[in-house]
Amino acid sequence: MTRSAQRWLVAIILLGLAAPVGAQQVGGGQTPLWLWSLALLACCFAIGVVAVVAGIGGGVLYVPLVDALFPFHLDFVRGAGLWIAVAGALSSGPRLLRLNLATLRLAVPCALTAALGSLLGAQLGLRIPKWLVQDLLGVLVILIAVVMLRSKEREAVDGRAVDPWARRLQMLGAYHDPLVGGTVRWAARRVRLGLLLVFGIGILGGVFGVGAGWAKVPTLALVMGVPLKVATASSVFLISLGDVAGAWVYLHQGSVLPFMVVPSTIGLMFGAKVGARLLERARPEAVRKVVFAVLLFAGARSLLAGLGIWGG
């Protein structure tokens, strides 16, 4: 990452963290709604930038950070988290479909088990005490931070025969890869195991109000043997088709504040566009360290809040 891009990234992160604190200070307990709305917009803009540069979904940053920095109960934060994940996935999905990177052939069967998991997770999540959700979320986010710091991009491509379920459901495709200089053909493997894992990930997403792309991409790529680009793009579709089921549960339980969802969605979308531009000049190692620090802060804060040590 160039020095100026690095400065921009740090400035955007500071803006995102400072906005809610500033709103609270300015209002002195009587903060007007428009100021909270602006603070949400700024914070989510920063989350959108960081999420794209780091290659992670916004939800895993959104839920612990907004829970830490804003006066909303975790129920509403998780409800908003799922809806903004769905909105983001719906707005970026069409382009990925037209590039032939995302495919309904892969996404729809996975979405069915993801939707069932998300439904179950959302029902569970709204029955678990807040402190326990915060603790579990804190541990999960810290684990993701550590895995992200240590991991290297890998793909599982092997020469085994095509899974019979992949053949029946036509879970296969091809796309043009300029890096390879030709067409890459692929077919899903270990379909039943993959669908089972996606069901489990759906439960996690429903409980914590996150899209859980950090778990879906490795499942599609490493377990089902789908090329990383297709796995990343199709995981976006899994969010829009699968996690929407859990998002509806939060809405019907009264855990969705439209006041939160709208500025959060707009902030994240603009942030994602700026993040995509920064990404062109990004050096993965530098980005990885910055995101590790943000995730560590968000995870530690959530864990400490659950333990009653810091806020709550």
Partner: protein
Amino acid sequence: MLPDPFPTGPGIPPENRRFARVVERGTQLVLTWLVVSHLAYLAAPPAGVAAHWQHSHGEFHAATGLPVGWAQLADLPAPGALSLAGIALLGLLPPLALLTVLPLYWRRRERLFSAVVVTTTVVILLAASGWIASGH
């Protein structure tokens, strides 16, 4: 040897194109709706709601007396209900897009995949109806 990845001919499958078109137009419409309704909400915010944000969803609704689920739309055209209607429309886009591609699979006699599309749509619509959230 991998099977033919282009059962419907080379290029982008027609179902991908149709799904993309429905979602793209729908999302643009809904996002515009959300921005307008949010501005209307900020112009005339409901009194006292912000004081209960830090409460759980159950305590929040007990304190504010606000309805949950589809009952919130009874307040239309209040700005809060308008925003919620926008969010609801967003959540109906995925099943709607799935229903528009279903005939393409059915016409190609892909019964198994059609069944998967129908089941996924039904699951999302059941969640949207509020039937599952109400504890059935």
